[in-house]
Symmetry: C2
Subunit: 355 residues, 2 copies
DNA sequence: CTGAAAGCGCTTACAG
DNA sequence: CTGAAAGCGCTTACAG
């Protein structure tokens, strides 16, 4: 077998992939001029531009992403690093990022990681050396993983963290006000007459867990109440952990009238645990969640929760990265926002009953 | 600012990314020899090999993925195309594929698509022209999307389909025996004394929906029973569609004693719908699902369902692609398996009660 | 067993 | 406004 078409390396193909050289030849210009037109650079005679565009269309020309990345300063590649066990969260993050990267002609490389992998630093260093990324997006718990942060900083790749807990100045950041959100949910419970409120904490590696507890505590204090330690149980953001935490809670001699779980999955665990114990939700006990996952309306009673605009946060994160990358080309200095705080919403449904 | 290290393009960096040239210089050989060692090619004196390896380690050399892909016949890039609304499914698929691609030094490009997008063909054609993929993996419903198949075939990219319905010979295929699985679940119901069984069909774009109905029908026939059309309701694999289908079912003058839903999410919808209507599961009505999503043990009663090894199927799909790619290098002809059928398992839990 | 040369398809830096 | 040359970091094809 031998090559039968430009760009073809030894096997027959129906499609002739054309290159910048083909377009230049057809348009009767140099490849540099084609490059200018394709990249929307100035200083091309309108007439020439048109000629090139026509040729490009006729040949269905698409710039080769690999060649472009290898030759240029940009790779058109964004990396998404995560280690989050909640599929719905990961999925929304991916969708948000991809929506933005596609708009900009970028591609996404997903890189699930194990945050406790002893080789994590080397893994990431190798990855970043192998494949020049224009930017990296980190989601919790990696947003606060020192090993990951060091590896990325060492590689000098711009990155944005979603919902980090520490050192917001260390990178670009996208988040919601978790403290305020938890404050509002707790106040909502208080407004319904609940004074005895249990709390299921999230995974301690996630900043959100601490922030939400903070908001919970502040809301109680604002009404002259204080946290009852025996009603605060440790969870890990999974259904099972919520279930177990609730079991411990329900074993207390005195019971709260409401439970605020740090995320929806744990709230489902609480509801299941209560149901097992013959405690009706919300008649005997109210339950509040956080996140508004799709499942929140797939159970009865429908869960009252905080809606977090996850997809939008991911979109914003990608946006910051792309903005930075383009700026670098034209100006070199970047005085753009380093942080963006998106808004949340308290969604009232059926899992809370006034006392 | 000026370049201060090899491979550095005008901005300061802590990390010196070294290239094949650096390694060659340090080892005192040509870049071709380094290439041989790095790619584990034969015909290198053991002594030379060692020298090169040492140099590579000292410089933390990692072959540049872009350069490698541009110069060579392989791109080390696999694409995953999907349009599946179930996050847990997508997540498992991604994990399976990534596990295999990482083992082989490949990278994954995820490409969520809208299967009814009128521009789908052009979108995919453009993508495949821009970015040379070594292989593509398709999941339902794209596995049977004619537009997608044509675009990929036209680009002459090897691909494997997961759980396709039609033309298994058209590509490499990974699946389970959906007919048999549904047959077994239905038989299980029959064994428990249920003769009156309702069926909630899945999305008609998914082959699994038809296959599972087929198995359902065959199992009934095998016992001399036949399908009662008024107990077969159309669903679309979502919770809501299961809920609505169940409402229609429960509005029938006569009710089945069990319902077999084509996937877990619809089974949850059926359970919710029953609960709303004051029908207890499994006391008054048994429910069976399909997939064994994590949520199956997050509800009460725990769902009896079919476990599908999704992650493994994805791994196998990637495996086929990589095997094909390597073979192409060495031999050119491929007499490997074109299809792989993985095993499923019926998981008995609490949503079915003997009649 | 080893290497020199050409080339992958672009962008960059520079000249005019 | 346009282009010729060099180069990105590798692999391929070939020579010895």
């Amino acid at each position: 077998m031998k090559a039968n078409a430009p760009g073809n390396k030894g096997f027959t193909s129906n499609t002739i992939v054309s290159t910048i050289t083909d377009v230049a030849r057809l348009a009767g210009v140099s490849i540099k001029t084609v490059s200018r037109v394709v990249n929307n650079e100035p200083n091309v005679k309108p007439e020439t531009r048109l000629k090139v565009q026509e040729a490009a269309v006729r040949l269905s020309y698409r710039p080769n992403f690999l060649a472009r990345s290898l030759a240029g300063a940009r790779s058109y590649l964004i990396g998404l690093f995560y280690d989050n066990p909640v599929p719905a969260y990961v999925n929304e993050i991916q969708r948000g990022v991809i929506r933005r990267t596609r708009e900009g002609g970028y591609h996404l490389m997903i890189e699930p990681q194990n945050s406790h992998d002893p080789n994590l630093e080397r893994t990431i260093a190798t990855l970043l050396a192998t494949i020049k990324l224009d930017g990296v997006i980190l989601t919790p718990p990696l947003s606060d993983n020192e090993v990951v942060l060091r590896a990325i900083e060492a590689a000098n790749v711009p990155f944005v963290r979603i919902s980090p807990y520490l050192n917001p100045e260390r990178s670009m950041v996208v988040c919601i006000d978790d403290v305020r959100a938890a404050f509002e949910m707790t106040s909502h419970l208080l407004d319904q007459g609940h004074q005895d409120i249990g709390f299921i904490a999230g995974h301690p590696d996630h900043g959100s867990s601490h922030r939400r507890f903070e908001g919970f505590e502040q809301a109680l204090k604002a009404r002259g109440l204080s946290v009852r330690r025996e009603w605060v149980k440790q969870g890990y953001y999974s259904f099972e952990s919520g279930f177990e935490a609730a079991q411990a809670l329900l074993a207390e001699p005195q019971l709260p009238t409401a439970v605020f779980a740090c995320n929806d999955y744990m709230a489902f665990g609480v509801m299941a645990s209560a149901q097992r114990a013959g405690i009706r939700v919300p008649e005997d006990m109210s339950v509040a969640g956080f996140d508004d996952t799709p499942s929140a309306t797939m159970i009865w009673p429908h869960l009252t929760t905080i809606r977090q605009p996850v997809e939008l946060m991911a979109y914003a994160a990608a946006e910051m990265l792309l903005a930075r990358t383009s700026l670098k080309d034209t100006q070199g200095n970047l005085d753009q926002d380093l942080g963006q705080k998106l808004s949340f919403a308290l969604i009232e449904r059926d899992s809370i009953k006034p006392l």
